[in-house]
């Protein structure tokens, strides 16, 4: 009790009694009675408190007068704040006592502000927007102007959130260090960054800056013993950090890694390997011909098989190619079809060619094993329509060389079987699957930002904003 010793050296020899040193610590609470209703009014910050609103009758009392003069008489049932006056709680390691409560509105939405007091720390605000709590500390220095409409404080940039708007007090109870009254309106301008808001309030000749830091879900509720709020993001606070931002970052990182892996896989798997080849002559307008490529080895559980046909010398003719890939063991077969064709000629627009003499056929997800490819070819000459009256060929028809040839002319056709290679479709599917999660989170993030900005991005809000920018 070193405090007790302090005034002891001042013991006077004079008859006047020395002031008695307080043996017990002074109480910060002084119980007075309301001159209007007679109820007990606990003044918790004597000397600092300017206005007291009696919690029994709602009368406004002047705490700077010794006998609590009534400034505004009231006799109405009052609502009780969710956290009762006088409740103490520890926030960020500091004990605070609730001494005042008020509700304010910007005419669109309302919120509550608790005034917190600690005799050694002074005042702070606990702001409750109905979803989450923020701790407000009045700044003892001025933020500086940043780029554009931004404000700078402690090397952090805060972007302006909408225009300047009036804020009106709708309900008040408890004690305050300023003259508070229902209906009192201040002009507020907000600047935000995720997690923090700088709020500038101008009232008559006074301007105050308050820094509001958002609490994690449940922290303030736990500190003051009220039920925790339910997490939901339907109406985010202007300074609310997006819950999707971290998810988005994670999804992007995972997505980029997956994409890189996809590139590597498709690079390796994309290399095709020839496993069989044969060349045969197809007789034009001759009988069908069947060739078999045996012993096609597919070691992977699932492979892609590409069958290339090359009838490069073909002109004004086509070759039908029927493929049947048959498992030597099970005799299961996969059938497919290719068409090698090439036509040329000339008409009034000049010479023309059409058709693909090198068709490629892809078979996906072929189970591993030994296979035979049965190829059935039949080649046909295109008659150029010259025998048909309904089809008049240009006079300079260049296909004469073919016409002039005997039937029985052959066309060499080379069939090549390759394995491996990744389907473009599979790559695209994998890409979409990989992109899906980041995209979903991105849309969630956009939705959140849209809702967060909703109070100022509406037509009215943006008008206000552009109006405010002019000055």
């Amino acid at each position: 009790m070193s405090d007790d010793a302090l005034p002891a050296d001042a013991a006077p020899p004079a008859p006047a009694q020395p002031p008695v040193a307080p043996v017990t610590p002074a109480s910060t609470v002084r119980a007075l009675s309301c001159p209007n209703c007679g109820g007990i009014v606990n003044v918790r910050a004597q000397g600092l408190t300017v206005s007291v609103l009696c919690e029994h009758c709602g009368s406004t009392l002047d705490a700077t007068s010794p006998d609590l003069q009534v400034i505004a008489r009231a006799n109405e049932a009052l609502k009780t704040p969710e956290i009762p006056l006088g409740t103490r709680g520890t926030l960020n390691g500091r004990v605070w006592e609730i001494v005042g409560y008020m509700e304010r509105t910007d005419e669109e939405i309302g919120w509550a502000e608790y005034l917190l007091f600690n005799p050694y720390e002074g005042y702070a605000f606990l702001v409750d927007d109905g979803r989450r709590f923020s701790l407000g500390i009045m700044l003892d220095r001025l933020p500086t102007m940043g780029w554009g409409n931004a404000m700078q404080l402690d090397h952090q940039s805060f972007s302006r959130f909408g225009g300047t708007y009036p804020v009106r007090v709708t309900f008040v109870v408890g004690e305050f260090y300023w003259r508070v009254a229902v209906g009192e309106t201040v002009d507020e301008t907000d600047f935000v960054r995720p997690g923090t808001m700088l709020s500038c309030e101008v009232y008559q000749t006074e301007r105050t800056w308050t820094r509001l830091d958002l609490f994690d879900w449940g922290v303030a509720e736990k500190a003051f013993g009220i039920p925790a709020r339910r997490r939901e993001y339907s109406h985010p606070a202007p300074h609310e950090p997006s819950p999707y931002k971290r998810q988005l970052r994670e999804a992007l990182v995972v997505g980029v890694v997956a994409l890189l892996a996809l590139f590597v896989v498709s690079g390796i798997g994309g290399r095709e390997q020839v496993i069989g080849q044969t060349t045969t002559d197809a007789v034009l307008d001759g009988p069908e011909k069947t060739v078999v490529i045996r012993g096609l080895d597919l070691p992977s559980a699932r492979s892609r098989v590409v069958v290339d046909a090359d009838a490069g010398a073909i002109d004004n003719a086509w070759v039908d190619l029927d493929y049947s890939l048959t498992d030597e063991k099970t005799q299961d077969s996969v059938d497919s079809y290719g068409l090698a064709e090439h036509y040329s000629g000339s008409d009034s627009d000049g010479s023309w060619t059409e058709g693909d003499p090198r068709p490629e056929v892809s078979l996906s997800s072929i189970p591993g094993g030994k296979y035979d490819l049965v190829v059935t070819l039949s080649a046909h000459r295109w008659n150029g329509g010259s025998s048909s009256s309904s089809f008049s060929m240009p006079t300079g028809f260049a296909g004469g060389s073919v016409f002039g040839q005997d039937s029985g002319q052959t066309i060499p056709v080379t069939v090549t079987v390759k394995r491996g290679g990744v389907f473009g479709g599979n790559i695209l599917l994998a890409f979409l699957l990989i992109a899906a999660w980041p995209l979903i989170v991105l849309f969630k993030q956009f939705g959140f930002e849209k809702r967060r900005m909703a109070p100022v991005s509406g037509s009215g809000g943006s008008d206000d904003d552009s109006g405010g920018d002019d000055d």
Binding site: L6, S27, T64, G122, Y123
Partner: protein
Amino acid sequence: MLDANCPNCGAPIRFRSNDLPVKVCDYCRTSVLRTGGNLQAIGKIAEVPDDVSPLQLGVRGRDGAQGFELIGRVRWRYADGAWNEWLALFDDGSTGWVGESMGRYMMLREVDDDALAPVVVDHIKSGQPIAIDTLITIGGVDYAVADNKQVTCIASEGELPFNAPLGLTATSIDLMTPDGECASIQKDQGGEVEAYVGRYMSLAELNATGLRSFEGWPMPASAA
């Protein structure tokens, strides 16, 4: 330093600084004016109403390298509240003020008369209004006006550089900079203008010890 007795009640009174001619007697609350070796009772001072300020006479603290002790207080009132100005006597014999308002503290030192431009002094002396955000240069630093009010003395105690009876009036202008520096310009009843500069500091930053203890409130760790 001068030890003497109150001319009114005879209790011992101590003047610790030659620059502080006024002492409010701790026992009979008489304001005693010292001129040379002569003591003169110049009036009764109202007792400072109880408040929950953690500061009191005898609190020690430090501003940079310099230690100080709070030896006097003036309590001012304005239309919308009241605040304390505590006189700090530094170890080197100089003085400063710890302004205590709305639970916040400013450590302020008086600046030389030429720190304020004469045109500013004239403007303030004329009593013309000064808008908030007006920039005023004090000793080469630009301060923005944050507040401008008429104030009245409620009470005083301890040693003071001037007599501060109930009803003494003044004009008080509060100023701030982005760096947390602050200033106060006061025009006293006689029209004299003085400027003070300093900065906002917490009790921990002031290294304040000997604070009042309050029932049920833990003393901050910095004051132990």
